[in-house]
């Protein structure tokens, strides 16, 4: 039985570790500036936890087999513990865990404590049951006021986010169902929701933030690779939660300007 247990525990451990190490299923390739540090911190945590995982599970399996009771076993070793050992491994664990955490704090601070750099691309992201809308403030750099009373999602575009089309400030606001961003420029996102909590999650851009009704949340990131990235809503929002899907197109600055100009032109 001891042998069977050891074998089963070891097998489970080694098979799980294999798939982790082989990265059969892994983080998507990072396409944002923060990806480098996040992925490094992830890898570090991963290696440390992996070592602990292997040591603990393989150790458990070994102990269970080695100290199985047999007629030839010596009497069990009567001991109430070892205080020195307790102190040592407590301190080591504390240093390891807290140290790991402090190392990760730098990027968290830079991403979240500081505001976006001036000159960042402004985009407002609005979540609603069950679609994402994106608004660009246009040449005046201001988002025109919206009102829930003016909302009409079935009409799409400006009406979906509740813009008052007779408002002069609203004339240059572009509203789309797909997000376009220029590569290598910081993006200043304003997240809103008009009904329940949603979450704007783009795995490749290492970006996630809940969109909370009643709040307008500012966050920033910088895409670094041209491509198309999927958005998945990451907070339960109702029966359409699984299909609240969107796309982020990261293109060159030129293509972005062309696209935005085309959208502005359509509004005339």
């Amino acid at each position: 039985m001891g042998l069977a247990l050891m074998v089963v525990i070891w097998l489970i451990t080694l098979i799980s570790t294999y798939f982790f190490a082989a990265k059969t299923w892994w983080l998507p390739v990072g396409a944002a500036a923060s990806a480098e540090f996040i992925d490094k911190q992830f890898a570090l945590t991963f290696v440390i936890m992996g070592v602990v995982f292997l040591a603990a599970q393989l150790g458990l399996g070994y102990i269970v087999w080695r100290y199985r009771e047999q007629s030839s076993s010596p009497p069990s070793s009567y001991s109430h513990g070892n205080t020195n050992l307790e102190v040592v491994w407590t301190l080591l664990t504390a240093v390891l865990f807290i140290g790991l955490n402090l190392m990760g704090s730098r990027v968290w601070a830079s991403q979240r404590f500081d505001a976006a750099a001036p000159g960042a691309v402004q985009v407002e992201v609005t979540g609603m049951q069950f679609a994402w809308y994106f608004r660009y403030p246009g040449p005046d750099g201001k988002y025109a006021p919206t009102s829930v009373k003016l909302m009409d999602p079935s009409a799409g575009g400006e009406a979906a986010v509740g813009l008052n089309t007779s408002d002069p400030d609203a004339k240059d606001d572009v509203v789309t169902g797909t997000m376009y961003l220029p590569v290598d420029r910081e993006v200043d996102v304003s997240l809103r929701s008009v009904d329940v909590i949603h979450s704007f999650f783009v795995p490749s851009l290492r970006f996630k933030q809940d969109a909370v009704p009643g709040l307008n949340i500012h966050m920033h990131f910088r895409p670094t690779a041209i491509g198309e990235y999927e958005i998945a809503c990451a907070e339960l929002c109702g029966l359409g939660h699984y299909k609240m899907h969107g796309m982020v197109h990261v293109v060159s600055q030129e293509d972005f300007d062309k696209w935005l100009a085309a959208r502005e032109a359509e509004k005339q």
Binding site: Y143, P145, T146, S147, V148, G162, R192, G214, N216
Partner: protein
């Protein structure tokens, strides 16, 4: 020691089917039965411990309501029609005179409750003396502390209800603004807990009619009294919060 197996259970050491060996009696050993008389002192201490433990979650309930109160009061909400954050806590015209009268009623009821508690403590202490044949302590007409406390408690609840009516008269209902929501919520939650206290008092009153032993009744009234004092303190806190932290 034989290891366990399904077919042969080694019962030599433990006496299967018989009683387990008696534990050794160490010095002053009795079987804990106190000669068939319940240990009222121990019961009282245990009941008081139970009350202290009960008060902890009630405190947590009001701590969390207070926290919600403070957070809601200060938290701004985003107004997309102006692209600014606004606060909407609102004002409430509290009928503080009514509430002050209610406070006085409750504080007096705490005094009468304490009178009841001390009265029954004295009776319980004198019970062994009274039971000696031939001894008489005179016929004391017991002052109806408990009855008055119940009346004052009900009076408080009635007064709270009147305060609610006055709030409504002034145009403040549960959903008028967050401030008024909390006024109803906090006073209502307190009132429900106080009503529980009144039920405990009625139980104590019924016990006296059923002629349960005075020591037993003493425990019920003692616990009810401390709970009652806690309700009074809680009310002072709620009133102060609503009046000064609005």
């Amino acid at each position: 020691m034989a290891t366990y197996s399904t077919t042969h259970v080694d019962t030599t050491q433990l006496g299967r089917g018989g009683r387990t060996p008696d534990p050794p009696v160490l010095g002053g050993g009795d079987d804990g039965s106190n000669g068939g008389v319940p240990n009222y002192g121990q019961r009282l201490r245990r009941a008081r411990l139970g009350l202290v433990v009960l008060i902890a979650p009630i405190v947590m309930l009001f701590v969390s309501l207070t926290s919600a109160y403070i957070v809601r009061q200060g938290l701004p909400t985003f107004d997309s029609t102006t692209n600014t954050y606004v606060r909407d806590w609102g004002e409430v015209n509290l009928p503080w005179i009514l509430l002050a009268i209610n406070t006085a009623v409750l504080l007096v009821s705490s005094l009468t409750m304490e009178g009841a508690r001390r009265g029954i403590t004295r009776q319980a202490a004198l019970a062994p003396v009274r039971s000696i044949p031939g001894v008489s302590l005179g016929d004391e007409k017991a002052f109806p502390w408990l009855g008055i406390t119940v009346v004052l408690g009900l009076g408080f609840l009635l007064g709270q209800w009147l305060a609610w009516k006055e709030l409504a008269n002034r145009g403040f209902f549960i959903a008028t603004n967050p401030n008024s929501s909390f006024v109803y919520l906090l006073t209502g939650t307190h009132a429900i807990h106080l009503a529980g206290g009144i039920i405990a008092l009625l139980w104590a009153a019924a016990a006296s009619l059923r002629r349960t032993p005075v020591e037993s009744r003493r425990i019920v009234i003692d616990i009810a009294a401390w709970y009652w004092h806690f309700m009074a303190l809680l009310w002072l806190y709620v009133f102060a919060l609503l009046e000064f932290a609005r």
